[in-house]
C-alpha cells in the first residue's frame, strides 16, 4: 500500500501535466481540424480532472502516513550565484488544496458543458479552462517562491483570457484588461518582495544547500533575513510579498477588478472568481506564513486589510441589484475574513474557511448561473422573483448556500466559529468587525434569496428549469457545503481539520482555543437576526406589517441617503482609480509623448537646421564679387598674422 501511494507522490507533477496535455490536444485538435464534436472536448477535460481528483485523494491518504513533506526539484534557470529551480512539494496544505481545486473544477466542468452547449466558442472555452487548471494546480504544487510566481502570473493570464472570453463585448474586453493590469500591479510587489528576500538571504541559501526560496526552509531563512535586513526593511519586504495576495484575492485597495470580472461566463465566475484563483492569494499567505509571522507589524496590517475589505465589500453588497455582483462582493468579503484570520494568527481557521467557502460559493455561483440561463441572460434581481416554483432544485440549493455562507449550522458556521475563536483570543476590535460583517452577510444573502426566489415573478421572460447536467453538480456541491464543516470541526472526536493542517507547522500551533460556548451562540444569533431583517424588508408575507409600521426598504434608503449613495458608488474607489487614470496617468503619458516628439526630437532637428543655417550664412560671403574674394584673402591673412604673432610673443 505504501509503495502504491509512494508512486502517486513520486510523480505528483502529472496532476498539473494532465490539464496541459488536454489543453494542447484541444487546441491542436481544433486548429488542425481533427475533430469537431463537443462531446470529445468535454470528455477529455473531465477525464483529465477526474484522474487529477483520484490522484489528489491518494496523495491525501499518503499525507496521513507521511512525517515530513516530499519534494522533487530540477534547476530551471541558473546563472552565477542565482540558482532558480522548479518542482513540486507535497505536504498537508498542498494535499488539501489539491483536493479542493480538482473537486470543484470537475463539478464546474460538468456544469459548464451544459451551460456552454450552445456557445460557438465551446472548444476555445474548454481549452482556456484546461490552461487555468494547469496553472492553478501548478501553483498549488510549486515548491519555492520563484516557481509560485511563475504560476501566479499564468493564473492571472488564464483569468484574463476567460474574463475576456466574449471579447466582442467591449465591457468584457475592458474588464479583462483591467483584471490583468491590477493583477500585474500585485505581481510587481510580489516580484520585488521575492527578489529582495533572496538578496538578503542569498548566502544563507547557498550555504544551506537546499533549493533557493524553498518553502520547507523558509522559517530559518526568514530569521536570517530579519537579522540581516533589520526589522523596518524586513517589514517592507514582507508587505511587498503581501501585495501579491492583495491583488489576487481582491483585497481592499485592489479589489475593484473582481466585480467587473463577472463579465465572463458564470462557470468561470464560479471556478476562478469564487473557489480557486482568488483563494490562491490566501494559499500564498499560508505558504509564505513564516515570512509574515516573523514581523508583528506585517501581521497586523494583513489582519486590518482583511477586516477593511470584509467590511467595505459587505456594505456594497447590500445595495447591489445584480445577482452575480452581489455574490462577487460576498466573495470579496469572505476572502477578507480569511485574510483577517490569517493576519490574526488563526492560520488553520483561515484555511478551513477557505475550503468550506470554496464549496458553497461555487454552488451559489452555479445557482445564479442556472437562474440567469433560465431567464435567458437576465441578471437584474428586480426582474426576478418567485423562481422557487419554476426551479425548485436551484432554489433549495441556493437556500442551503445562503445558510452556509451566513454561518447558520451548516459548514460556514463551523469555519466562521473557528475564526471568531481565533480572533477572540488576541484582537477584540477585529472580532466586533467580524460579527458586524457576519450580520451584513446573512442580510444581503437572504435579501438576494427573497428577491430572486420568493414573492411573485416580476420579469417578462418566462423562466424554464435548468437541465439535468447543470442540477447534478449543484446537488453534488450541496453535500460538502452542508456536512464538511461539521465533519472536520474536530468536535466529538471527529477528524479535526486544524490538527491536520497544523501538523506541518509546529511553530504556529500556539493559537489557543477558548472553549467558551458563548461565542458560537452569539454568532448564530447574529446570523439569524440578519435573516429576519432581510425577510422583514423583502418578503411579501410581511408586506402588510411593513406598510403599517412605515419601515420599508425604500424609505430606509431615503433616510440613510449618504450611506446609500456611498455603497452604490462602490465607496467611490472605482471612480478614484478612473479619475486618477484620466486626469493624471494619461495626461502624463501625453506630455511625455509630446516632450519626446518636440523637445528631444526638436533638439536633434535643431542641430540639423543649425548646421544648414551656418552653411547658408558662410555662403553669403561668396558674393561672386571679385573684390570680396580679395578682401577675404587679405583680411584672412592679416587676421592670422595678428593672432599668431601675438600668440608667439605671448608664449
Amino acid at each position: 500500500m505504501e509503495q502504491f501511494l509512494e508512486f502517486f507522490v513520486e510523480n505528483a507533477g502529472a496532476i498539473a501535466a494532465l490539464p496541459l496535455w488536454a489543453f494542447l490536444i484541444i487546441v491542436f485538435g481544433q486548429n488542425l481540424g481533427v475533430y469537431d464534436n463537443k462531446k470529445i472536448t468535454a470528455w477529455i477535460t473531465c477525464t483529465s480532472t477526474f484522474i487529477g481528483l483520484i490522484w489528489s485523494v491518494c496523495i491525501l491518504f499518503w499525507t496521513f502516513g507521511a512525517e515530513e513533506p516530499f519534494s522533487k526539484n530540477i534547476t530551471w534557470l541558473s546563472a552565477g550565484n542565482i540558482e532558480l529551480s522548479a518542482g513540486w512539494l507535497i505536504d498537508n496544505l498542498a494535499a488539501m488544496m489539491l483536493l479542493v481545486v480538482t473537486g470543484v473544477s470537475l463539478l464546474i466542468q460538468v456544469y459548464s458543458h451544459g451551460y456552454m452547449e450552445k456557445d460557438d466558442g465551446y472548444h476555445r472555452f474548454f481549452s482556456y479552462l484546461n490552461l487555468f487548471n494547469f496553472s492553478m494546480l501548478g501553483l498549488v504544487l510549486s515548491s519555492n517562491l520563484f516557481q509560485i510566481y511563475i504560476f501566479w502570473e499564468l493564473v492571472g493570464v488564464s483569468s484574463y483570457l476567460l474574463i475576456g472570453f466574449w471579447f466582442r463585448r467591449p465591457s468584457a474586453a475592458h474588464a479583462a484588461t483591467k483584471a490583468f493590469i491590477i493583477n500585474r500591479i500585485g505581481d510587481f510587489g510580489l516580484l520585488v518582495g521575492i527578489i529582495a528576500f533572496l538578496f538578503f538571504s542569498i548566502n544563507w541559501w547557498a550555504a544551506s544547500g537546499n533549493i533557493y526560496l524553498g518553502f520547507t526552509s523558509l522559517q530559518p531563512a526568514a530569521e536570517y533575513v530579519l537579522t540581516a535586513a533589520g526589522p523596518v526593511v524586513y517589514c517592507l519586504i514582507a508587505l511587498a510579498i503581501f501585495c501579491g495576495p492583495i491583488a489576487k484575492s481582491a483585497q481592499f485597495p485592489l479589489h475593484t477588478w473582481l466585480p467587473d470580472a463577472m463579465e465572463g461566463p458564470t462557470p468561470i465566475s464560479a471556478l476562478i472568481h469564487a473557489a480557486t484563483m482568488v483563494a490562491a492569494g490566501v494559499f500564498l499567505i499560508a505558504r509564505a506564513y513564516p515570512i509574515f509571522e516573523a514581523s508583528p507589524c506585517v501581521m497586523t496590517t494583513i489582519a486590518w486589510i482583511g477586516a477593511i475589505t470584509a467590511f467595505i465589500t459587505a456594505t456594497i453588497a447590500i445595495t447591489q441589484y445584480d445577482l452575480k455582483k452581489t455574490l462577487a462582493y460576498s466573495t470579496c468579503s469572505q476572502l477578507g475574513y480569511m485574510v483577517m484570520a490569517m493576519g490574526a494568527g488563526a492560520y488553520a481557521a483561515g484555511l478551513f474557511h477557505l475550503m468550506t467557502h470554496a464549496f458553497f460559493k461555487a454552488m451559489l455561483f452555479l445557482c445564479s448561473g442556472a437562474v440567469i440561463h433560465g431567464l435567458n441572460d437576465q441578471q437584474d434581481m428586480r426582474y426576478m422573483g418567485g423562481l422557487r416554483k419554476h426551479m425548485p432544485v436551484v432554489a433549495y440549493t441556493y437556500l442551503i448556500g445562503c445558510f452556509a455562507i451566513s454561518g447558520i449550522l451548516l459548514s460556514g458556521f463551523w469555519s466562521k466559529e473557528e475564526i471568531f475563536a481565533g480572533l477572540y483570543g488576541n484582537n477584540m476590535t477585529l472580532l466586533t468587525i467580524g460579527l458586524i460583517v457576519a450580520f451584513i452577510t446573512s442580510f444581503y444573502m437572504f435579501r438576494s434569496y427573497f428577491l430572486a426566489f420568493e414573492n411573485e415573478y416580476r420579469g417578462h421572460a418566462h423562466p424554464h428549469d435548468a437541465p439535468k447536467v447543470m442540477t447534478i453538480p449543484l446537488i453534488l456541491l450541496a453535500i460538502p457545503s452542508v456536512f464538511i464543516g461539521f465533519l472536520l470541526s474536530g468536535k466529538f472526536h471527529l477528524p479535526s481539520f486544524d490538527k491536520y493542517i497544523l501538523s506541518g507547522h509546529e511553530a504556529s500551533a500556539h493559537a489557543g482555543h477558548h472553549e467558551s460556548l458563548m461565542l458560537p451562540v452569539v454568532s448564530l444569533l447574529i446570523a439569524l437576526a440578519g435573516l429576519l431583517t432581510a425577510a422583514y424588508l423583502y418578503h411579501d408575507r410581511f408586506k402588510a406589517l411593513r406598510e403599517s409600521v412605515k419601515i420599508t426598504a425604500d424609505n430606509i434608503i431615503k433616510t440613510a441617503k449618504p450611506f446609500y449613495s456611498l455603497t452604490t458608488n462602490l465607496w467611490y474607489i472605482d471612480k478614484l482609480y478612473y479619475c486618477f487614470i484620466d486626469n493624471i496617468f494619461l495626461p502624463v503619458c501625453e506630455f511625455a509623448a509630446n516632450f519626446d516628439k518636440f523637445v528631444i526630437d526638436g533638439i536633434v532637428n535643431f542641430i540639423g537646421v543649425k548646421t544648414r543655417f551656418e552653411g547658408w550664412f558662410l555662403r553669403q560671403f561668396q558674393t561672386g564679387q571679385l573684390q570680396t574674394y580679395l578682401a577675404i584673402l587679405f583680411s584672412g591673412l592679416v587676421g592670422l598674422t595678428l593672432i599668431f604673432v601675438a600668440l608667439n610673443l605671448f608664449m
Binding site: N31, T75, W76, L77, S78, A79, G80, N81, I82, L84, F146, Y149, I150, F151, E153, L154, V157, Y160, G164, F167, R168, R169, P170, A172, A173, H174, A176, T177, F180, I181, R184, I185, D187, F188, L191, V192, I195, A196, L198, F199, I202, F585, L586, V588, C589, E590, A592, A593, D596, I600, D601, V604, G608
Partner: protein
C-alpha cells in the same frame, strides 16, 4: 569541423547579393524571391552547424581565422590590424539570431515589397554580411568597418521601400548612427594609442585589450574612452536621450526591414557594450555603473510611458523595443554573471519578440493600410489565427512566464538586484544613498507599464466589435503563418527550458566576469 569557416559564413550573403544584383540574374520577381529565400535558408542552416560544433566550455574565441594578403602580411599591416574573426558564446548566439531573422524577413517580404526587387534583396544580403561581420570581428578596426558598412544598405532599405517621410527618417538614421560611430572611432584610437605608448605595439587586436589585462590606463583616459564607446552604443541600443531616430525609422520602414532593424540592429549596440565597455574597461564600468543603471531605468520607464500615449501602432512597438532594451542596460550595469547573462538573454528574446510584433503590425497594415490604433478595432473577430499569434507574442513581450521574455527579465532583475556594484553614488559631490537595489525595484515598475500599454493596445486593436470597414479582414496567409509560427516556436521552446539558451552563453559570460 574544418568546413566551418567564419569568413565563408560572413561573405556568403555578399555572394548572394552579387548573384542577385548582377545582370545575369532574371528580372522576374518570383524567381528572385525564391532564390533569395533559398539562399537565406542555406546561410541559416550553415550557421546552425556552427552552433552544433560550438563547445561552450572552451574559453576565449572559437573558429578563429585570420585572413592575410597573398604575401602573408596582415591585411592592413601599417594600420596594425588584420582580418581576424572569432566567435564566442555571445556573438555566436547573435549570429544565429541574425541569420534566423533575415530568413524570416525574406519570407515576410513577399507582400510588402512591390518594386525594384533585385535591388531590395541584394541590399538585404549586404546588410546581413555587415551585421555578421560586426558579430564575428575579433579586431577593433574590422568591427568599425562592418559597423559602418551596415549604414548604406539600411539607408536604401528604409528610403526606397518605406512610406511616409521615409527620406527624412532614413537620413536621420544614417547620420545619427554615423555620428555615434565617430565617437567610437575616437575612443578606439585613444586606447590603441595609449597601448602603443605603453607597449610599443600598435595593434587593433581585440584580445590584447580584453583577455590579457596588461593594460593599466589613467582613469581620465579610461572614462573618456568609455564614454566614447558608450555614446556610439547608446545611439544604437537606443538609450533614451539618443533614441528619437528609432520610432521614425520604424514607422517609415517596410515590415521586413523594421523586423530586421528591431530584431538585430539594436543588438549590435548591446553586443558592443558587452564587448567594448564591459570587456575592455571593466574598472571604468565599475565606476560609471550608477550612470548605466540610471539610464537603464529611465529607458524602461520613460519609453513605456511614452508608448502608452502613442496612436501609431508601429511607434508603440518601437517605443516598446526601447523600453525592453533598457533591461539590457540594467543587466549590464549589474556587472555580475546573472545580470550580464540576463542582458544577453534579453537581447535574443527581444530580437525574436519584436520581430514578431512588427510582423503582426505588418500583417495588419497589409490589410488595412493604416496603423492608427483608433481606426482599428475588433480585428480578432474574423481572423482568430492572427489574434492568437499576436496574443502569444504580446504576452511574450509582457514577460509572461514560460515564454522567452520572462526568463530574460528574471535573470536581469535578479542579477541587478543581487549585485553589489554600488550602494550609492555621488552626483556633483553630493552623496545620494540610492542603491542599485532601489533602482532595480523602480525598474521593475516598468513591468506594470509594459502590461498597461501592450494590453490596452491589444484590447483596442483586436477586441471589441469589428469596425464595418474591416469586415473583409481575412485571416493569415501561409507566408505569414510560417513566419509567425517559427517565431512563436522559438518564444515558447526557449521560454519553457531557458537552460537550452543559457548553456550556450553561460560559460562565456562567467569567464568574462572572472576577469573583473
Amino acid at each position: 569541423m574544418q568546413y566551418l569557416s567564419l569568413t565563408l559564413l560572413i561573405f556568403l550573403p555578399l555572394i548572394g547579393a552579387l548573384i542577385i544584383w548582377g545582370p545575369w540574374f532574371a528580372h522576374n520577381e518570383v524567381k528572385i524571391r525564391r532564390f533569395a529565400k533559398g539562399f537565406g535558408g542555406v546561410i541559416f542552416i550553415y550557421s546552425l552547424f556552427f552552433l552544433a560544433f560550438f563547445n561552450p566550455a572552451k574559453e576565449g574565441f572559437q573558429f578563429e581565422q585570420t585572413l592575410t594578403l597573398p604575401g602573408g602580411k596582415p591585411w592592413l599591416e601599417p594600420l596594425g590590424s588584420n582580418f581576424a574573426l572569432g566567435v564566442d558564446g555571445i556573438s555566436l548566439l547573435l549570429i544565429v539570431l541574425t541569420t534566423f531573422l533575415v530568413l524570416l524577413a525574406l519570407i515576410a517580404s513577399k507582400y510588402s515589397i512591390t518594386k525594384r526587387h533585385k535591388f531590395y534583396y541584394s541590399m538585404i544580403f549586404l546588410l546581413q554580411t555587415a551585421i555578421l561581420g560586426v558579430f564575428a570581428a575579433k579586431d577593433l578596426f574590422l568591427f568599425i568597418i562592418f559597423w559602418e558598412i551596415e549604414l548604406i544598405p539600411m539607408y536604401f532599405l528604409i528610403s526606397v521601400w518605406g512610406s511616409g517621410r521615409k527620406e527624412y527618417s532614413a537620413m536621420k538614421f544614417i547620420l545619427y548612427t554615423f555620428a555615434g560611430s565617430i565617437f567610437m572611432l575616437a575612443a578606439i584610437l585613444a586606447i590603441v594609442y595609449y597601448n602603443y605608448l605603453q607597449t610599443g605595439i600598435f595593434t587593433f587586436d581585440l584580445t590584447t585589450y580584453t583577455y590579457m589585462k596588461a593594460f593599466a590606463y589613467p582613469t581620465l583616459l579610461g572614462i573618456l574612452a568609455f564614454l566614447g564607446f558608450f555614446i556610439a552604443f547608446a545611439v544604437k541600443l537606443p538609450v533614451v536621450p539618443f533614441h528619437t531616430w528609432l520610432p521614425d525609422a520604424h514607422v517609415d520602414a517596410p515590415t521586413p526591414v523594421s523586423m530586421l532593424l528591431a530584431g538585430i540592429l539594436l543588438k549590435m549596440g548591446g553586443y558592443g557594450l558587452i564587448r567594448m565597455n564591459l570587456q575592455i574597461m571593466p574598472e571604468i564600468m565599475q565606476i560609471l555603473a550608477p550612470l548605466v543603471i540610471i539610464l537603464g531605468v529611465i529607458n524602461i520607464l520613460y519609453a513605456a510611458i511614452v508608448a502608452t500615449a502613442q496612436q501609431d501602432l508601429k511607434k508603440l512597438v518601437a517605443y516598446s523595443s526601447v523600453s525592453h532594451m533598457g533591461i539590457v542596460l540594467l543587466g549590464l550595469g549589474a556587472m555580475n554573471v546573472a545580470g550580464v547573462s540576463g542582458a544577453v538573454f534579453q537581447m535574443v528574446a527581444h530580437g525574436v519578440i519584436s520581430a514578431g510584433l512588427f510582423m503582426i503590425v505588418g500583417v495588419i497594415y497589409l490589410r488595412t493600410h493604416t496603423r492608427q490604433i483608433p481606426e482599428l478595432g475588433g480585428l480578432g473577430q474574423n481572423s482568430p489565427k492572427i489574434m492568437y499569434f499576436a496574443m502569444i507574442i504580446a504576452l511574450g513581450s509582457l514577460g509572461l512566464p514560460l515564454l522567452i521574455g520572462f526568463a530574460a527579465e528574471t535573470l536581469a532583475f535578479y542579477g541587478a538586484f543581487t549585485s553589489n556594484v554600488f550602494s550609492g553614488f555621488s552626483l556633483f559631490d553630493v552623496y545620494i544613498p540610492v542603491s542599485i537595489q532601489i533602482l532595480t525595484a523602480i525598474a521593475i515598475i516598468g513591468v506594470i507599464f509594459t502590461a498597461v500599454y501592450i494590453l490596452w493596445m491589444f484590447q483596442r486593436v483586436f477586441w471589441g466589435n469589428i469596425f464595418h470597414k474591416w469586415r473583409k479582414f481575412h485571416d493569415a496567409s501561409p507566408h505569414e503563418m510560417v513566419v509567425l509560427i517559427s517565431l512563436i516556436l522559438v518564444i515558447v521552446v526557449f521560454g519553457l527550458n531557458p537552460t537550452g539558451m543559457t548553456d550556450i552563453f553561460g560559460p562565456t559570460v562567467s569567464s568574462l566576469m572572472k576577469l573583473i
